[in-house]
Symmetry: T
Subunit: 149 residues, 12 copies
């Protein structure tokens, strides 16, 4: 059976390439999507790649993934640290969830240290820039396959 | 005059029955709505029952209730603990507000201990599962009637 | 079988009507008892209504309720926030416990924010004044009946 | 070249005049808009004046301002204190940002003390009520002109 | 009219003279009572002098003082720092309350720094040993007389 | 000279065998008393074994022990963490005090971490269940004998 | 009636132009005074402009302003964060007080986050450099005029 | 030998009668001085009564008192809570020091809770308004006489 | 079967008799070993008694005990409070672990209050000096025997 | 040029397969080494795989890696959270450092939340069990190759 | 060129020899000055040695040193821990600043732990009593000479 | 008698010259040793200069110094902030201990602010780079000589 991986991106990730390039790199969201699709293809998975600045959209998509996806890769951006709603939505899932961040939030501002996504995630990849998405998609596929066996 | 009670539900309550049944019970949001309408009928009140995953929708509905409702029963889900915006919206109301929770947030994770809804609510009912909605609606009706006398 | 509900009241509740009426209302403890008995009658339950200023009395009564009552409604007053002994006594009970407060302690002084009763209670009703006792007794009866089925 | 100033307003500011007049004054959002347009005219700037209860709308508008505005005046309301997403969006801007508040959040409830807007703003004006918008628009125009020289 | 002053003493004050004489002096509770009666006589007041190790007794006596005394002088001993119940009882009083301590709790162990008696007291006298009781009784008489004028 | 050991037990220990057997074991207070008397006999000491739910009773008994006992073994239950009065009473003693707990409070809920008994005790034995009473009585006897030499 | 505005400056502001120009700009205190006088002239107010490194001087001048000034603009420098004495002096004033800072203290070192001036000020302007003085003087004049009507 | 008592007053006490009369009473500093001199006369002591807004003046006067006074009564106003320098100066004294406050700082704003004067004082009198000065002077005289015996 | 008890001692315990005798007693590590061996003989157990200043040695010995010992008695000295590695090693054991301290760390410096050994230990004995080792070894033997039955 | 990757493992990782298999899986350190060598071979890198319970060994090996390795993959176990020494050693490296954990420390005990390795690492992979080592080695190789170009 | 070293001393240092000799030694400020001049002579520097109890004086002298001195040695006494004003003044200097304390503040009362002088100083010497001044002056001279080369 | 000074260096100091030269300077550990020997020669003392990355080695050497050295100069590197074991070892010494740091830890990362070495040291020298070792050795010699007189 073909895997379907939801790759969900939170607020301001549509500004990639523009926003603090020293931290986030020069690639755009389009580049990130292309790289992610390539990685998905490499593990023979279908990719659903989305971005929104709305907290509620992310909650909706996570709820949708519950019945439609084999795994979720999520970079919740600023909502990572404040959204109890997103935390609750992710908690409902029984499929693997991989949390990914371009930089390592644990070594940035104090208000980025607590993740409400982590307690609902299978694993965490942080600090590798765009390359971390490839690792995350491979890991998500690997976990999803284990589970389906 | 017939009372109108707004019963507003926050993020992930549309997943009731699916999400951690040990905590939230097996009933769905539909069941909760039916039970609430029954309780409203019992106190001869009209019920407006809504759910959204959007923080802004809840703020909008609370603002709408200001002129259209006799009382508000609100389970703000994850926004209970983070939404200053919702707090500010509720503060404007002069009608009774009853805060309700299926479980008792005060004895769950640390990040659920502080409620920004409470300082703007008349009273609080927590930990009784779906049955708490019936208590909340009765209490809301009671308070609204007192006020209209 | 007839239900027996213990309604236990902690320190200073004997001063109701005298103490800060803006917060606690004008009714006396006698009024509260009458109202509670009416509510108990409404759910066909027998009511044992007591008040004491002594922490140990409350512990004793909770222990007594273990074998004699179907449910406990408790307003521990100032001991709510300091009594580990009361917490431990309530923890032993297997019958329903409903915590009730006239005002909502969560929005008053800092030293009233932590409840040692809550982790041992089925549910919490706060902020509705004397009317909250009626809700609490109905809820206690409801929970006790469920359990006996 | 004509300046364009985005004046963005967060949740509940549409209730001005209704909400706690002792704190926020009696003027409505319409009055505030009129006053702001007058101030903008006084510095020969065009004004884009918007309000939303949605966190995501504010993020979107800030992103839009990046290419369309000369400066941003922002009163993020309740999101000031919780929105990492808004913080991240503002950080991307290279045009001046002026943070404005009707009251001084630093002397209100504890949860209003930390501003996530401030670290991304050029300056802060707080506590002057509606009159503060005039100061903010003048300051924004002044900073934008300096930068264009 | 003759004044009646209740001088209430909390736990372990019956051990005066025995307990850490370096801190509390060599006088016994009897000596303290004699000294207090002498001071009361000096201001032509009747003295009711009591001691108990029971938190509830102190609550009871404070409630009794509400109708029988002109003023209360209270050294709540260890309950000063832990008794919300005593705090609540004192809050009901409309007669003057003078808090007295033999030593200055504010410069002893951390757990003696917070007083729940202070927010319900007219004034505080601490650190003067037995002599502080004389000052407290004089102050209580003075305040009671002012009020009766 | 025969040793006299006071073994004092605080609130809820009368419920042993009933209360959370996984933590406290299946033995009752009677069993604990029997075991303790056996241990006392083994070290040729007389045992005074008491339990009360009243904080003041414990304070009274500790004061009584000052002149009548050779050593005190104390399990203050919930008062361990809240009673400044008990702390003060124990501080007066010049005979050995052994603090004992069935479980290790330091690894249970946060509110059980601070002991007000410890700073007034010679030593601490925790986590060994009923067997810890035997160790405590032997230790108390040993310390009392050293002192009397 | 002509307005008189006291513009009071605290420690180290006499070093402007020398001290961390990246933060405070290159202008000197003389420049700041000239700019302030120009702004005062623009609103037809008289300006009293002073600077001192002594906490007591600022307290004295604030007390003097009570009877001689229509408004106070104050940049208390390092005393902003530590001076309870200055806080108390400002609290006595019934004329408008505008707090001004060259940079935004809220985003600098931790010890600059708390302002003891704010709770005694009508409004706050921070982060605009010398230009903020012009805004502050205009605001002070505006508030003073409102009050005199 | 005649006693000499230094009565030292800190910042803003020169504004008594003007500043927040609800808290501090209507009497002026002159009234307070008169009352204090009367009290000093009553105990046959000479009074040196001074006030300053300068932290350093208080330090100087405390140092002067070391050789010239029999006791110090000090109301350090706002410096009570911030002045390590004053704390150190008082620590050097071997004569009695009585700390006095018109109101009880322990129940006002958080930043008034910690006293740096207390650890260097014999005793504390707070909350009795101007009358507290009389108590303080009598206590100071009493302590000084004890010491000289 | 003969029991084997590992008695492991952490840093600086080799200095016993030299280091702060007021706290640790005059006996040396040799004395402690002799006393421990005597206690072990009393319960017919073999004793392996070791001391090291190296954190890693303690981790190694705990791992070794996993297959070679019937129980572990451990005084981890300074590593008690800082070693997550030791905590993790102890967690793996399925044999009884008894934590022992010569003094009671809970009443010494703040940095000795948290024990990382406790959450991995069956019980705790503290404050009895060298005599505590005898109690610990007896307890360890008792627990090991229970388990082997 | 062939890459050399140091894979360094801290305390208790030699117990893999034995220690809390629910968290760490059933594989042993040997299995982990085999899996890691396979992953290294897949990216044509040489692997140096070591484990020690000694903090100093890890510091030594990190220093050695400075001149001998192309990248470091490190799972510092319990030292992750306490070792400033290891933090300082890693800071000196100019080659890529990948932090890896079998479980996600951020959602376990409080004392595992702070990582002193993270601020010195290029990226972080956590929560994927043994599979995370494969990801880490691939990431390390990728980063090392980028750098050498 | 001859070096000029400013040696500035804060509040209460004029009481040396009198104040807590156990901590500060028996030498007077005169002795300290003589010792300092000797040390200055030893490094062929001119010494300006001053003391004041006034915070503002220290700020003034630090500002004066900016143009007249080659280095500053400063013991700010109680102002070390509270003076943001002094911190700001020192920050402006480009000459070396050596912070000196007779005792080590880091191991005294909590309120002496934070130094606002340190972040503006080249180095710190503490705990050596008067001898520390000699070290400080030598260090200041050494740093000043390096800079002038 | 010739003095013997132990100069003990903790983890990563063997990397001097390589590690963050902006902070630690360009000199190597060899240079530091040479400089230290020169300083020792200047005060006619013998120097034992050692470095280790192992916490236990430092504990061993401090214990060795107890009988073999006249004074200890110690830079414990990262162990300064975490080693209770080292703290305990130093506490046993009766010879002078001088704590030295190349930079001033008090103004670096939060986790370097607390020193466990300071409470066991005679004095502290920090922030002077390698030159601080010369000051430390001179101070150690001076203190040792005083003690031997």
């Amino acid at each position: 059976m073909t895997l379907t991986i939801y790759c969900l991106n939170g607020p301001n990730l549509n500004l990639l390439g523009t926003r603090e390039p020293a931290i986030y790199g020069k690639g755009t969201l389009e580049d990130l999507k292309a790289l992610s699709e390539q990685a998905a293809a490499g593990v023979k998975a279908q990719l659903v790649f989305r971005q929104s600045n709305q907290e509620g959209d992310l909650v909706d998509w996570v709820q949708e993934a519950r019945t439609k996806a084999s795994a979720v890769v999520i970079n919740a951006g600023g909502y990572t640290h404040t959204s109890v709603a997103l935390h609750d939505a992710l908690k409902v899932l029984t499929i693997p969830v991989v949390e990914v961040h371009l930089s390592n939030p644990g070594i940035r501002e104090e208000f980025r240290h607590k993740s409400l996504v982590s307690p609902a995630a299978s694993g965490l990849i942080a600090g590798f820039g765009a390359y971390g998405y490839r690792l995350a998609i491979e890991a998500a596929a690997q976990l999803a396959e284990q589970r389906s066996n």
